[in-house]
């Protein structure tokens, strides 16, 4: 434990020294080339839906099919979260009757779906995006405004997980 601690601080010392004297590129860390933002599609009203338009910056990295599949799945998941149906009405009525205290022990339908979204994004990143030096950011981290795709410089990025 103690030794790893020392290594920690040594590593950081090294990092700082390196950073301050050399450029980041020398460290073989991924450098962000650009960020692509997929905006919201409001043509169906206020429902959470993202535009399916394939951005030009990704032409060289990703094929349309993968991209469209990702966006479509995400749109479907969000539609499920906001769906008005028997289940959501039941949840709403029950919540009202219990003065909304039921949410202390239960997750809302929306929150359940958001977990699914997070899992899906993680899976997509591992399977499709990271191998192509791209990274999807969960839209909830951007207030459900955009899907942010970070494009890293293609320098043989090795995932450090």
């Amino acid at each position: 434990m103690a030794t790893t601690d020392l290594n920690c601080s040594e590593f950081h010392n090294d990092q700082i020294a390196t950073l301050s004297t050399h450029s980041l590129q020398e460290l073989q860390h991924p450098v962000v080339s650009t960020k692509v933002f997929i905006q919201r599609d409001y043509s169906s009203g206020t429902l959470c839906k993202f535009q399916n338009k394939f951005p030009a910056e990704l032409e060289s990295r990703l094929d349309r099919q993968h991209f469209e599949e990702t966006i479509q799945t995400l749109n479907n998941l969000y539609a499920e979260a906001e769906k008005l149906g028997g289940k959501s009405y039941l949840e709403g009525c029950l919540a009202c009757l219990t003065a909304y205290t039921i949410f202390l022990c239960m997750e809302t339908q929306y929150e359940k779906v958001l977990r699914k979204v997070a899992r899906y994004i993680k899976e997509q990143n591992e399977k499709v995006y990271i191998p192509r030096s791209l990274l999807l950011t969960d839209p909830i981290e951007r207030g459900l405004r955009v899907i942010e795709i970070t494009v890293f410089e293609d320098r043989g990025f090795v995932p450090t997980s």
Binding site: F11, Q15, I16, L24, H29, G45, K122, T137, R142, E148
Partner: protein, 466 residues
């Protein structure tokens, strides 16, 4: 030997302790990074309590008045009128009164304390990307282009989406920027000073329940106080004698009499809004009024009253988009002298992708001091609107609410100053959530610094995400 063992044990213990509390504090050249939660650097004009669990508007004086009025009136009712009524009529009266009172208080607190549906401001990268797109569309000529709008067709109706200069986003349909709170709020209804908060997508149902139950409570108290006085005067022989016996009833009657008109009226108004799926904002502006045009209709309505009501009151409750209780991971400008911006990042961050992401940001960000500017003219212009009489409190406010058009116009004049706080704060927002499992975290950050990915956000504590 015994000594040796205990020495080594002590050593292990010592190293264990240092591992656990090994925040950058332990390493000699780093200063301690105070762990801040995101609400502490929230750019809007809101007040937070209970470590970010409670969120209210800046001016809460009127809210306390509401609370006092309700508590005092109900208190007097239970103390002076209920004993008589329970004895001479039925004990069900105080029970029903009690249930109504608890419901009113619960919905009031829920409305006041929850996030109305605030949209977080754009990160610098997003804002830059949008600006680029707008410039391309306009053909930048160097002078400030006219207020930016985007048109979108929703269910056959053309809706204009306006660009918010403060939040640096195109506002979603039905969203509006509240100049009192300085936030864009989804499905903005109005800012209610009586409740001390905006009423938007996330707390509209609580607000409606509050005014509805308050109407019932007011009518209930009014009716039974009158009953009490009448009964007592028939017992005591004389109206004035009855009043002398129970002076508190006079106060209750007065309060209830004046409240009933405004609150019942407001409930009726909001029932109409819910059944037609409109916001107060839209109704006041006549956005979907047939007077505007033959083909003008509300594209958000579900078609029938029942579905509209169910959707508004029992629909799914969206989560808060601003992660109030999440931790801000970087507080770099204060920590190290910014000789080379990258050094600062290197010393506090462990995640490669963040460092990588940091460079373009640093290149964009100049060494501007972090200035938090409130918009003076907005703050100054509005206090007169917030002082209201008892008649129709909430309905009068939206008239004065300069939400979409005027607020953008006024804010556009100080776009440059707005840039700074957004820049500085959005900076911390950008790094506040580490990327999920894909990047290695350095183990000298304590476990609680790094929320476990996706689940951690929702399990941040036993309290519900209001």
């Amino acid at each position: 030997m015994h000594l040796g063992v205990s020495e080594s044990m002590r050593e292990c213990e010592y190293s264990q302790i240092s591992t656990r509390s090994s925040t950058p504090m332990e390493t000699p050249f780093k200063k301690k990074i105070p762990k801040k939660r995101k609400w502490e650097s929230f750019p809007g004009r809101n007040k937070f309590y209970c470590d970010g669990r409670i969120m209210m508007a800046k001016q809460t004086g009127v809210f306390y008045l509401t609370l006092v009025l309700i508590l005092v009136t109900c208190g007097l009712f239970f103390t002076f009128d209920c004993p008589f009524l329970a004895e001479h009529l039925t004990p069900v009266i105080p029970v029903v009164g009690g249930v109504l009172f608890v419901f009113v208080l619960g919905t009031l607190l829920r409305t006041s304390f929850s996030d109305p549906g605030v949209l977080p401001r754009a990160t610098p990268d997003e804002a830059a990307d949008l600006e680029r797109q707008i410039d391309v569309a306009n053909g930048s000529t160097g002078y400030r282009p006219p207020p930016r709008t985007k048109e979108v067709v929703i269910n056959g109706q053309t809706v204009k989406l306006k660009y918010c200069f403060t939040c640096k986003i195109f506002r979603p349909p039905r969203a509006s920027h509240c100049s009192l709170c300085d936030n864009c709020v989804e499905r903005f209804d109005h800012h209610c000073p009586w409740v001390g908060n905006c009423v938007g997508r996330r707390n509209y149902r609580f607000f409606y329940m509050f005014i509805l139950s308050l109407s019932f409570l007011t009518i209930f108290i009014f009716a039974f106080v009158i009953t009490h006085i009448i009964l007592r005067s028939s017992h005591r022989g004389g109206f004035l004698n009855a009043l002398k016996d129970s002076p508190a009833s006079v106060l209750e009657v007065v309060v209830c009499f004046f409240s009933v008109w405004s609150i019942v009226g407001l409930s009726g108004f909001h029932t109409y809004l819910i059944s037609s799926n409109q916001t107060t904002n839209e109704d006041i502006k006549g956005s979907w009024s047939s007077k505007r045009g033959k083909d003008n209709y509300n594209p958000y309505s579900h078609g029938n009253i029942v579905t509209n009501c169910c959707a508004a009151l029992c629909g799914p409750l969206p989560p808060s988009l601003i992660d109030r209780r999440g931790f801000v991971y970087l507080d770099t400008p204060q920590l190290a002298p910014p000789t080379n911006g990258i050094t600062v990042y290197g010393s506090t961050q462990s995640q490669q992708s963040h460092m990588a992401a940091a460079t373009p940001l640093l290149q964009q960000q100049s060494s501007e001091p972090v200035i938090i500017t409130a918009s003076p003219e907005n703050g100054g212009a509005l206090p007169s609107r917030t002082s209201l009489g008892l008649g129709g409190p909430c309905t009068s406010l939206p008239l004065g609410q300069p939400t979409p058009a005027t607020s953008t116009a006024s804010l556009s004049c100080q776009e440059s100053t707005d840039m700074l706080p957004v820049h500085a704060h959005a900076h911390s927002h950008n790094h506040s959530r580490p990327l999920q499992d894909q990047v290695a975290h350095h183990h000298f950050l304590t476990p609680e610094d790094l929320p476990s990915p996706p689940a951690g956000r929702w399990c941040s504590g036993p309290e519900p995400d209001v």
